[in-house]
């Protein structure tokens, strides 16, 4: 897909994130906007999937480990055609398929696993990737993590096991926005040197700008060419696309009011 179309998809995903969070009245805006370019590249360029057949046996698997950015997952699924965009307005509402944190129990089309408690998704992705190795399937597993999430010890248990079993069909994308709820990640609990941490655990590590569509495309391509599991440290701006709230961790877990929504939509950058 050409970059113009990808940019349009990213714009539309951000728009739907804002609209759905406003309708919900609560939820996590900052991370959802920051990840919009990564999700665009995944859903419209990288992942082999069939929105009209969500359980297609050869599909690539997307494991969202940070369940709180569900809005960007739902907006991407809707943009890809898994369900109508109008359904995004049911986010976080009673009886919705779009739970506050993703839930397979509520039958969201295209959803691979429930998530919401941090630090669990990489293990699930390892289980999926190892299953595919056993079955000699060539599909890939992509997991998405927050940087603050890497403070969970279970992530490193999983990282060790992915390298042990040489799961080069696994790509972990780390949303490196340097922010978590209490403030800057390096103040709350130091993560650096992050690249060498992953390298020392036996991973192929790629760093890129996670808000650049071409850089994400290149990083994912490079990840498929390794004989090790790959970690993509994707530097993003929390709230990317809406200048007024960029890199402000107060917008981690907040939804826009009606006034804010119209201001943010007007200010939304196409690129």
């Amino acid at each position: 897909m050409d970059n113009k179309s990808l940019t349009n998809h990213a714009y539309e995903i951000r728009r739907q994130v804002l609209i759905s969070l406003n309708a919900a009245g609560s939820g996590h805006l900052g991370g959802s906007l920051g990840l919009a370019d990564i999700f665009t590249v995944l859903f419209f360029d990288f992942l082999r999937h069939k929105p009209d057949n969500p359980t297609w046996a050869e599909r690539d698997r997307l494991v969202l480990s940070i369940g709180h950015v569900a809005p960007v997952l739902y907006a991407s699924l809707a943009e890809a055609g898994y369900f109508p965009k109008s359904e995004l307005l049911s986010l976080r509402k009673l009886g919705s398929r779009l739970q506050g944190h993703p839930a397979t129990a509520h039958h969201t089309p295209g959803l691979e696993t429930s998530a919401g408690s941090l630090g669990q998704g990489l293990s699930i992705a390892v289980g999926m990737a190892l299953s595919d190795k056993i079955d000699k399937k060539t599909r890939r597993v992509v997991s998405i993590h927050g940087d603050g999430e890497l403070q969970e010890g279970s992530i490193w248990e999983a990282a060790m096991s992915a390298a042990h079993y040489k799961l080069n069909n696994l790509i972990a994308i780390i949303d490196r926005n340097y922010l978590q709820i209490d403030g800057k990640t390096e103040d709350v609990m130091q993560l650096e040197p992050l690249q060498s941490k992953w390298e020392s655990f036996g991973w192929n590590v790629i760093s890129c700008n996670g808000n650049s569509i071409p850089e994400m495309q290149q990083a994912l391509k490079a990840a498929t060419e390794s004989d090790k599991p790959s970690a993509i440290i994707a530097k993003t701006r929390m709230g990317a696309g809406v200048k007024a709230i960029e890199n402000n961790h107060k917008w981690h877990g907040k939804a826009p009011s009606d006034e804010e929504l119209s201001a943010f939509l007007n200010a939304l950058e196409v690129d």
Binding site: S114, G119, Q120, G127
Partner: protein, 315 residues
Amino acid sequence: MPAYKQLKPTRTGFGEGLVEAGKTQKNLIALGADITGSVSMDGFAKAYPERFFSFGIAEQNIAGVAAGMALSGKLPVFSTYAVFSAMRDLDQIRISICYNNVHVIIGGAHAGISVGPDGATHQALEDIAVMRVLPNMTVLSPCDATQAKLLTQKAMELNSPIYIRFGREAVPDFTDENQAIEIGKAQVLKSGTDIALFATGHMTWEAIRAAGILETEHKIHAEVVNFHSIKPIDKETIIQSAKKCKLVLTAEEHQITGGFGSAVSEVLSQEYPTKMYILGVNDCFGESGQPDELMTKYGLKAENIVENALKLIKA
């Protein structure tokens, strides 16, 4: 003393059940947590090396990996000491396994105080409570090695999470290879009219012994019911026995709080209020000692069942 075939640990039955199931259940995958031999998964690892994967000492990861495999159509089983397999990874079991409602078999080995000299850290007395509170979870607790083997094979037939509890010690292996066994159905081992003894795991043998003592020494006809399934629990049998006997004593190698006795009382208090005594460990940690010494000190022997049954009858 009633008759039994041999002394055998329930964990051995689990291992045999896995090897047997592996013959036909081609998607069965075993995940090792470093103590593979100790939890009797070494037989499976040897029989099907291509379906055994070692994950080291990392219970959180192993539970998540099992969930991921199940989401990919495998039937993963992992087992370690119950203190770890049920509690070190509880959040992964809750979200990755139970919320996804995937078919993962979790073995809880070395459960109960009869673990012995290792002491309190390794004596799981809380696992039934924490496992049975989880939505979608099935909780099984076989009474001997034969039953452990059969239940392990039965566990393959469900399509949801299962926790199976085992002991460390060799205990009487007394049930029949051809017994009728169904998840969710209790087994009336001895019919009686004066008091119903409901037991699970190792305590079933103690209940059988207790019934013998009550019969010969006190002319009391106790009914003995084995509950290999704690969740779902067999309400029908509980109520039937309670109606017949009027008194119920439950016995488990577990904390009184939240365990098997609690599950029975949840049924009876709401459906057929019956005077009960819950025999178990009374809100304390265990300690080092020989298994039999500990069972005696913590009041988990047939003699303790007899004593409390008599009190219940006289009250």
